[in-house]
């Protein structure tokens, strides 16, 4: 009992004194990541690129939640299924078969994606586009499982390929 109380007291004390001294220090490879997340487009028309970005986000099933043409920002979100359906069914069946089990199985069920696209002019009159992806995953009971920034280089390369395509399609009113 004493130990438990001591532990609770310690937890309360520690949470009250959480240190933020190292908060907002960029990590060592942030410049490298900037490069992965950025592509320069040989156009002077920032607005055209913003429209093409919005079109692409719609292609990918996103809902646009914020946009500002002056700053060149578009943010969008979408909710998708996470994990394989087969795996989920297998977990449910195992839980039913296990007679000693009294708890519902917990597994990754849904994921919400967040994407921010930013367009700005470079000094040599081109447009710099930077995109960042992040996601939150939820379990089947609705609790948050994971909050993360997506860092896969391939994801960003494919996005920019699609954006180049979207610039062409949008310019030709397709």
């Amino acid at each position: 009992m004493k130990k438990l109380l001591g532990l609770v007291g310690l937890c309360v004390w520690m949470s009250a004194c959480a240190s933020y001294t190292n908060l907002y220090v960029p990590d060592a490879n942030y410049l490298e990541r900037r490069n992965i997340e950025t592509r320069i487009f040989d156009t002077q028309n920032t607005k055209e690129l913003l429209v093409a970005s919005a079109q692409l986000l719609q292609d990918m099933g996103y809902t646009i939640t914020e946009s500002d043409a002056d700053i060149g920002v578009i943010t969008a979100t979408k909710m998708r299924e996470a994990g394989s359906t087969v795996g989920k069914v297998a977990l449910e069946i195992l839980a039913i078969l296990d007679k000693h089990n009294t708890q519902d199985p917990v597994y990754e069920d849904k994921q919400k994606f967040f994407v921010t696209v930013v367009n700005s002019k470079t000094k040599d009159r081109k447009v710099r586009t930077r995109v960042t992806f992040a996601r939150i995953t939820y379990d089947n009971l609705g609790a948050v499982m994971k909050i993360e920034k997506l860092k896969d280089t391939k994801l960003y390369a494919e996005f920019f390929d699609k954006l180049s395509q979207s610039v062409f399609l949008t310019a030709n009113n397709i």
Binding site: Y20, Y24, E66, T132
Partner: protein, 136 residues
């Protein structure tokens, strides 16, 4: 006896965290001047858009998703997926410079460590330097 002491200490700690609704709504226990002081930094430029673009870039470096941006009012807000914090940054011209102010919170708690804001402004300062020199 020891048990009572522990319970007493715990009660004291918990009581210290208690706030009235008004105090919580207005954060009235903190001096406005002190808060503004460590949450603000002045940058030697008059280009508001350039500063705002670099705030967005710095926030992206720190894992933020931009949730709100308004050039006219000069505010940018976002949520960081790496630090799980919310932040609003505002920009306003002041003579021949631009005054940038940030305020952040994590969950139910405001970030009150001045060092966290210094870190953010240092990163912003570096970003402004990099773009001014066309490094990125």
């Amino acid at each position: 006896m020891k048990q009572y002491v522990l319970i007493g200490c715990l009660g004291f700690l918990l009581a210290g965290c208690g706030m009235t609704v008004n105090q919580a709504a207005l954060d009235s226990s903190v001096s406005q001047v002190v808060t503004r002081n460590y949450q603000s930094r002045s940058f030697d430029t008059t280009d508001k858009l350039e500063v705002m673009n670099n705030i967005v870039a710095t926030m992206q470096d720190l894992g933020f998703v931009i949730e709100k941006a308004d050039k006219d009012i000069g505010t940018i807000s976002g949520f960081s997926f790496t630090t799980q914090t919310n932040m609003t940054v505002s920009v306003r011209p002041k003579g021949n410079s631009i005054l940038v102010r940030a305020n952040a919170s994590k969950g139910t708690r405001a970030i009150t460590d001045p060092q966290a804001y210094q870190n953010f402004f240092n990163a912003l300062s570096q970003s402004l330097f990099l773009t001014a020199n066309e490094v990125l």
